[in-house]
Symmetry: C2
Subunit: 168 residues, 2 copies
């Protein structure tokens, strides 16, 4: 496709299982994997995000929050949990939640025994909005991923990336 060596100093001696660990440079395949993840994500994320905007809907990040809260159901979530599972910057999430609460998409309940925080739950309005967002979001995902030949390969690839996520 293209030469993407990405910086020289390929320190992988093929065949050696050296778990040298400290200050190792990536192999060409490792780099290629990272580059493709990076480009694919940017392409998809921006496409979806700007299409949402074009349709008068809120940014993609809102979807993640709404969907996570929807899956938690009645027990809800704390902000710091959302932060960790959705990889939010604390301050960004704080401000985002404020906006979503102001718009009635999310409600905060003082039910908690920890008076520093509140429990967050999605409202009916929030669920409705998430579904509406999905109508433009969903097809884009399929549009980008739907070119993969067989379902098995698709599943394997997803599993591989999930494993990488879990290990770090």
């Amino acid at each position: 496709m293209r030469n993407l060596t990405y910086g020289k100093k390929l320190s992988h001696k093929k065949g050696s299982k050296s778990q040298q660990s400290e200050v190792m440079y990536p192999s060409e395949n490792e780099t290629q994997l990272w580059v493709s993840i990076n480009l694919l994500q940017q392409k998809i994320y921006r496409t979806v995000d700007s299409d949402l905007k074009k349709n008068g809907l809120p940014p993609l990040r809102w979807y993640d929050v709404l969907w996570d809260l929807e899956r938690q159901g009645e027990k809800g979530r704390r902000a710091f949990e959302l932060e960790k599972t959705l990889l939010f910057e604390q301050s960004n999430l704080s401000r985002l939640l404020r906006k979503m609460i102001d718009e009635g998409l999310v409600e905060e309940l003082i039910v908690s025994e920890d008076r520093r925080s509140k429990t967050l739950k999605v409202t009916m309005k929030g669920i409705k909005l998430r579904k509406e967002m999905w109508r433009t979001y969903g097809p884009h995902i399929h549009g980008f991923m739907g070119h993969m030949e067989d379902e098995a390969k698709l599943e394997k690839t997803a599993a591989t990336l999930m494993a990488l996520l879990a290990q770090n």
Copy 2:
């Protein structure tokens, strides 16, 4: 691992090769693949970017520009080419290049026969900086990707994602 159905309406009838094309919702595996790409990218990108900053180095995006220009060598690049291959927003790239030119990392030459644009080349200083950035960037990539068992799987996964990129 976790239920990540991500919005209901799974329109994939397994086994049918229906190329219905319009307004299709993603299968569960397609969604899972997207979710993992999204999370992995965010995690890695932010880790590297903030580590660069901690080491007094410029943001990750600078690396991409420097590396691309370095690979083009003497023939250089036009801004709009960089924009397409590195997925930059036009205005962001424009301002980024201005900064890099001001810092002497990139030079613009009027050699071109098109007086609207200039040809961009990396300078020696730019090459030096890129190499320095690689010393903190490279090990992170290996740190995230180096958990993959066999090289073959790694290569296949990268190829799969590259193919997805090319198809969109």
